[in-house]
Symmetry: C2
Subunit: 395 residues, 2 copies
């Protein structure tokens, strides 16, 4: 009797469930006696709150692979340092022993990889034979060691298509506005940069501002004015992280209540230049829309899930699966969790200027948005995998 546990962690993405699908189908292939998905991540492991997916059928697995958000529930549970207080570790270890878990797959971003690392180290230290492998997931694309993070590709595709829709809308009048679109990304500009992909059709933003670049309000105003004077409109993509206390001239932003920089800067443009403005926050749908999935992203997410099970089943522990770009597509490798946890990958300098991205960024990102995924609609509404149709596991 051997068991595999899979848990989702951190913020949802549009393809984390594709990784779940890859994990489950690969575990089925390897003949695990029991495959359990924790409900609400590590919290579900501690509470012994599981869904039994050992015999989940192919149709459900296919539907799961194109269902946005975290189908099994997520959490932001941070484990304390085991040296200081190991009570949670002991509880998790007891669950691992009780269910005879040989593989634990954690699917998440930076913080989740830190948790995976802590557990992997604790299991080794306590001679518990359970392999811990991380599956990368974050729309932020800020994990090191992997070509990209599954979730990022679909977010890019959604953002680029949405920016194009907004560009078409704002160009329908002879005299347009200054439209400032706020894109997710507090520390890194990966998502905001993807707005540039709408330029495939010439419908991208005129100006793009990333947290990695120096931002100066006066220069910004001049850049907006230059575009507006020649085009009678100006479309701006702005990372939410612009002015998060990093840039002195931008203090006073009221992120928490007011939705952030787009509103603040739209007001600033209006008051300074007198132009009509509009602020648009792309908000949650950019990370969890089911209407604009990238098939490439879904495929990579699924394959990362498979690879995690292959590694863990072979006894490899303390690693995260990585995506490797090849001439023909993507391959999959591994990196030690020690190297990944809590580190952040910023855009390299050659990917951006002070108010736009470079062709090098486009060359990097464009392959990630290739291919579309047709959803199933019933009664006009997209149908997704429904956790409520599963029953909770009772040992």
């Amino acid at each position: 009797m051997k068991t595999l546990i899979y848990a989702q962690s951190g913020g949802p993405t549009a393809v984390i469930n594709a990784s779940a699908s890859g994990v489950i189908s690969q575990a089925q292939k390897y003949g695990f006696d029991k495959i359990l998905c924790a409900n609400f991540g590590v919290d579900g492991i501690i509470a012994e709150n599981f869904y039994d997916v050992t015999n989940l059928d192919k149709t459900s697995l296919e539907l799961l692979s194109r269902t946005p958000s975290s189908a099994f529930g997520s959490c932001r549970h941070k484990l304390t340092n085991a040296d200081q207080n190991d009570s949670e570790y002991r509880k998790i270890a007891s669950v691992i022993s009780k269910y005879n878990v040989t593989c634990l797959i954690l699917n998440g971003g930076n913080d989740s990889m830190h948790t995976a690392k802590q557990l992997a180290n604790y299991f080794v230290k306590t001679n518990l034979h359970c392999a811990v492998v991380g599956v990368p997931k974050t729309v932020d694309n800020d994990l090191i060691g992997t070509d990209f993070c599954p979730g990022y590709g679909s977010a890019c595709k959604y953002i680029a298509d949405t920016i194009q829709n907004i560009a078409l809308d704002t160009s329908s009048y002879a005299k347009g506005r200054v439209t400032i679109c706020e894109v997710m990304g507090r520390d890194t500009g990966w998502l905001t940069a993807s707005a540039s992909l709408a330029n495939v059709n010439g419908n991208g933003p005129d100006l793009i501002y990333l947290p990695e670049a120096h931002f100066d309000k006066q220069t910004f105003i001049e850049q907006v004015q230059n575009v507006y004077q020649s085009k009678k409109r100006c479309l701006v993509a702005m990372a939410e992280g612009i002015g998060c206390g990093k840039v002195a001239s931008l203090d006073g932003f009221a992120h928490a209540q007011l939705g952030g920089v787009a509103y603040e800067l739209a007001d600033f443009v209006k008051n300074t230049l007198g132009y009509s403005t509009r602020a648009i926050e792309l908000s949650l749908p950019q990370r969890a829309s089911g209407q604009d999935l990238s098939q490439t992203d879904v495929n990579c997410a699924f394959a990362c899930g498979q690879q995690a099970v292959t590694l863990a089943n072979n006894g490899t522990t303390g690693v995260m699966v990585t995506v490797i770009r090849t001439k023909d597509g993507f391959d999959y490798g591994q990196i030690a969790l020690d190297e990944v946890a809590t580190k952040v990958k910023y855009l390299p300098q050659e990917y951006f200027t002070d108010c736009n991205v470079t062709q090098k960024f486009v060359d990097y990102a464009l392959p990630l948005i290739q291919g579309e995924v047709a959803q199933t609609y019933v009664n006009g509404i997209a149908q997704y995998f429904d956790l409520n149709k599963l029953t909770k596991y009772k040992p």
Copy 2:
């Protein structure tokens, strides 16, 4: 030699170009010598700024029919009363005579139907033999005399799917937030009500507030609290028109700068109940997304365009095309512009309660979101009709 002119007016929708496609293909069928699309609506007629689409090919017409926003450009030009100053009327009449225009098709909402009415009356009065027919278009769905307004169906589908995506995202943690989604609609709640269609899958909002209903802040807080206490989360769909000076207890909203009621009420909930909150403004994509078109809406928009040409070509003037619901689908009729112009259709009382919609609304709206439209993607980005590939008309 006979000419047809088509002009788009008012805010963009996802299917106004399907109406354009219907107008053009029907005019081609009737053998018009010249088919001209005004660039930027009535402004384009006055400036004699036209695109010649007489021979626009079938592939382009098909692509146009699924291209969001106003492809030929729109305007918000309001004509003065002809009795006071008829200079613009005389200019338009001279263009009509110069190009031998026998049919003028105006595609728009309330204000545009008023313009159509003014021109139709002026042409009759001055013995100018040019039929003026209006094609309904508005996501707001507030034109009277028609079962629905093309544009509304696709907006409903986008809103319902987006609300479902948000519902899945916000339910991924054991303890959720109060999420307030702000939907377009200053005076009427048609769009906000459509959020309820996500309930087809049980993923709709817990609470829905429309401008037509009485809104009381204290009752709202109690309703949010009740939902939150039982579900540990609460999803609210809120019309932007709530509190637009109509409701005394809601004055102090800062719509212009801050994106409106959602942010204000999220703050109010946070300060009153201490819950974590998030405000989401669905913004422009709800009226002009190409990623979630309703095939029913596209078909009706196209047919309305065809019907307008049929009516105008038969010499009927001063009418707007109407959509009539039948047992099997939709049929098309007409209504005098005098009856339509500047009037507003509100949700009937039996469609809503103080904090939700009724089954009668769902029965009304669900048929409008049926069917999906597959877009063409090149290099990962949706491809649309590109006006820049047409040349301007030179008489």
